[in-house]
């Protein structure tokens, strides 16, 4: 504490972050937890539907997290430590699922792999039914492995090839190098990625709502309580339960990852090419990547087919008429992009700064700050939305119908992504760099600005990109906050689909996808070629 007092700027930064997280993360969540009475919680175990949803949630979390982390690692390893061909194309395709707004993509799975699917029936002639837990497993794996990929790619990349050479010079084989050198160094990244994926799977709503059928999970059950019966109490109880496994995951990650830390960015320049990989490793990896990418493309082709055909799933005559509806909803698109742009900027700055403070400074309440920065990821969007609606539509802070309420929800809901990225990367950067600067007389601010910030720049940009995409594609948060004055595109998409205009919904989804891609491309132009998108 005495050290804190000597650094007023640090104190101000910590205080500011603390107040913001308290106001816009903790307070709304507490409002949701307070909404039901104790009795409502007490009756939870007696409700068979709730219990089943809880079990399903835990089961699918284990399955999807394992597979998504595995696939993500496979890609990350192939991209950073092998010389497989066509990395650029594979990477672009692999990151596409990040762009996909909920439920339209899942609907596209049905179109391709359902009972009457283009691939499953028209091509392969089976009446395979993808609806159920296995379909959910597949779609969540595809949806979330890019997150794992992004986190682990950054980590794997920072492992200097020199350590690998050293191991090889000492006589280690390829597998042994991987097992004893590369993987242990990557372990914090793998654990961080798995934690993040697990939390996203826990709170996932877009995939199960469309593809899980009767296999209910907690977020869909909460959503159903809301959309069917207007039962805010039931939804609040269900999501409170969801916070328990989220807390468990958090502890697990801290225990497993924090046990060992490895530093590979030490300030000593290394510029070695990565060692060659054996062909029997390289080509199977390449094959697996290509296969996954084909699967992703399939789903997106389904979406585009919907946007340009007369009847999605039954009449594939080409048409442009759905695009009239897209033009009619131009305002919603503009809102989506501008809200998300602002939110992502703020989110990236705030989350990376928090990550820096948590991993580099010691101060009381550090664990709490860490926990609250990860917490929003574990809260289903619909609950975050309810919390904001309860907390910020009446005085003292009345933001009803404003752009601010939507933007704030996007900022704080996306904090965990940037935060986790920043933490993962900071673990790889030796504190000695900062310490050296401090020894030379630089203060906290100076050290941060001149030493750590340049090193963190790629984290910042990655956090911006991912927050932006998530903000553009979020539905479950904003459904509680939009009115006619601050409507965003995902809400319109849901509405169009609900009203039966699924072609128009697919077209608007496509437009949103293309436009957010364009925004990222333009910001890359603005910030010069050194802004490497999607590079953590």
């Amino acid at each position: 504490v005495r050290r804190l007092l000597r650094e007023p700027l640090l104190l101000v930064a910590l205080g500011g972050i603390g107040v913001l997280l308290g106001c816009f993360v903790v307070y709304p969540i507490l409002r949701v937890l307070w909404y039901p009475s104790l009795r409502d919680f007490w009756t939870f175990p007696a409700n068979a539907r709730y219990v089943a949803a809880t079990l399903h949630t835990l089961l699918i979390m284990v399955l999807s997290t394992t597979s998504a982390t595995l696939v993500g690692f496979l890609f990350a390893y192939s991209f950073t430590r092998t010389s497989i061909p066509a990395k650029g194309i594979l990477r672009t395709v692999a990151l596409l699922p990040l762009f996909s707004p909920p439920f339209m993509i899942a609907f596209s799975y049905l179109l391709m792999f359902g009972r009457n699917g283009l691939v499953s029936y028209s091509l392969l002639g089976t009446r395979y039914d993808i609806i159920g837990w296995h379909g959910l497993w597949l779609s969540e794996t595809i949806a979330f492995f890019p997150i794992a990929l992004l986190v682990m790619e950054g980590v794997l990349q920072s492992i200097a090839p020199s350590v690998e050479y050293a191991a090889r010079n000492l006589g280690a084989g390829g597998w042994q190098v991987f097992r004893t050198v590369v993987f242990p160094l990557a372990r914090p990244g793998v654990a961080g990625a798995a934690l993040l994926v697990a939390i996203y799977v826990l709170a996932d709503f877009g995939n199960p709502i469309m593809i899980a059928g009767s296999f209910t999970v907690l977020p869909t059950e909460a959503w159903a309580r809301i959309s069917g019966w207007g039962d805010v109490t039931g939804a609040a109880v269900l999501s409170s339960i969801l916070l328990i496994p989220a807390f468990g995951l958090f502890l697990l990650q801290r225990y497993w990852v924090a046990r060992r830390q490895y530093v590979t960015v030490t300030g000593k320049v290394t510029a070695l090419a990565i060692p060659r990989t054996a062909w029997y490793v390289k080509w199977p990896l390449f094959g697996a990547c290509v296969f996954t990418c084909l699967l992703i493309l399939c789903v997106f082709v389904g979406l585009f087919a919907g946007a340009f055909s007369r009847g999605w799933g039954f009449d594939y005559t080409p048409t442009l008429r759905h695009w009239r509806d897209v033009l009619a909803n131009g305002q919603a698109l503009v809102h989506s992009l501008s809200f998300a742009g602002l939110a992502a900027t703020a989110s990236a700055a705030l989350s990376v700064l928090t990550a820096y403070l948590v991993s580099r400074k010691s101060f009381p309440g550090r664990g709490a700050l860490d926990f609250f920065s990860i917490l929003p990821a574990a809260v289903p969007g619909v609950v975050f939305g309810i919390g904001y609606s309860l907390a910020f539509t009446s005085p003292p802070l009345d933001l009803y119908g404003t752009a601010a309420i939507v933007i704030l929800s996007m900022i704080f809901w996306n904090i965990p992504m940037g935060y986790q990225t920043g933490i993962g990367q900071l673990k790889q950067i030796a504190p000695s760099l900062g310490e050296a600067a401090a020894n030379l007389g630089a203060g906290s601010l100076r050290t941060f600005w001149d030493i750590e910030l340049p090193l963190l720049r790629s984290s910042l940009l990655a956090a911006f990109v991912v927050s932006f995409i998530r903000a553009v594609t979020t539905l479950s948060v904003i459904v509680f906050l939009v009115t006619s004055t601050n409507v965003v595109a995902t809400f319109t998409i849901l509405n169009l689909a609900n009203d039966g205009y699924r072609g128009a919904a697919a077209a608007l989804t496509t437009a949103l996808l293309v436009l957010s891609g364009a925004v990222l491309a333009v910001s890359r132009l603005l910030f010069g070629r050194r802004m490497e998108l999607f590079r953590i």
Partner: protein, 374 residues
Amino acid sequence: MLARPEEGVRCGAGSRITGKEEGGTPDSGSSRRNAMKRTLMLVSVLVVVLLGAGVASAADLVIYAALDKKTIEEIAQAFKQATGLSAEIALQIEQAGTVASRIKTEAATPRADIFIGGNSSIHDGLAQEGFLQKYVSPEVAKAGIDKKYMDPNGYWSGWYLGALAILVNEKRFQAEIAPKGIKLPSTWDDLLNPAYKGEVIAANPATTGGAVIFMATQIFRLGSVDKGFQYIAELNKNVSQYTPGANGSIPLVAQGQAIVGIAWGHDLIRQKRAENLPVAVIFPKDDGYEIGAVSIIKGAPHLSAAQKFVDFMLTPTPEEINAKNGLRYPVRKGVKLPEGMPAFESIQFVNYNQAEVNKNLEAWKKRWAEVTGR
């Protein structure tokens, strides 16, 4: 747009440090400042865009609607013509529960005056929890509208009726079911045919009011609770999935994910027209129906305008708009029915007892879960 991975890989970790060292040269220092300037510019442009959004409106009436967009917009226009009052549709989404939830979470400072759309049971729930304002329109007596379409406690007014329907994927039916000598289903019992095993999609009463009406319809139609659930158990053998929403089967059946579905007839016919869905629509004998309601929210900022709106909803104009766009039946007699919609009287309805449903709702939902295991 996307970075090529190779560059990054070759550079490896060390080059970032080099990058830092470059940061000291004047050239890249200015580029960093430029980047900051650009960021600032971008942010200020965004802020300007934002100022345009979220400006509070000065409308005479604020509506939350669980109706399709076209219908509620036309109704608001007609309301302006009839009364000179402007109505803002602040929220429009065809999920009555979502609208009801918004009313609950915003109850500390109510913004909306009117909740329109959704069936009477959702309005009932809100009324019981104290979120609605009592109002009985004089129009009910004046026009002689049947009292059974109005809330006995005076919180909501029924202004349309909607009937359940069966939808069938025509292509798959002709290819897979018709060759077995089976005709299109015309009664609820036809759905029990084993030919439909795994090919029926229904909705779940735990999550939607539409499915409760389906469940209660079976009980009233067959004359006893036990027989009703016997039917539901039989049907369960054919059901591949129960969707959370009442209309969840429409896209799935249209796309061929199953052959038969159950949904709201009015939504079905409207969607079929809009998107040319390849489905047959059947209103079965002993059909069940919903009462679509409108109510005033407690603490409504524009109470007298809200009362005028409820009066207006019971006049012929909005009923016609609604019947035309949403293909829902008017509660008033003498309103022109849209084409392609069978006359309300031509559908044989079950003798639906709402009081009985309200009384047994939880018990029946529980039994449904036990019988179907979902």
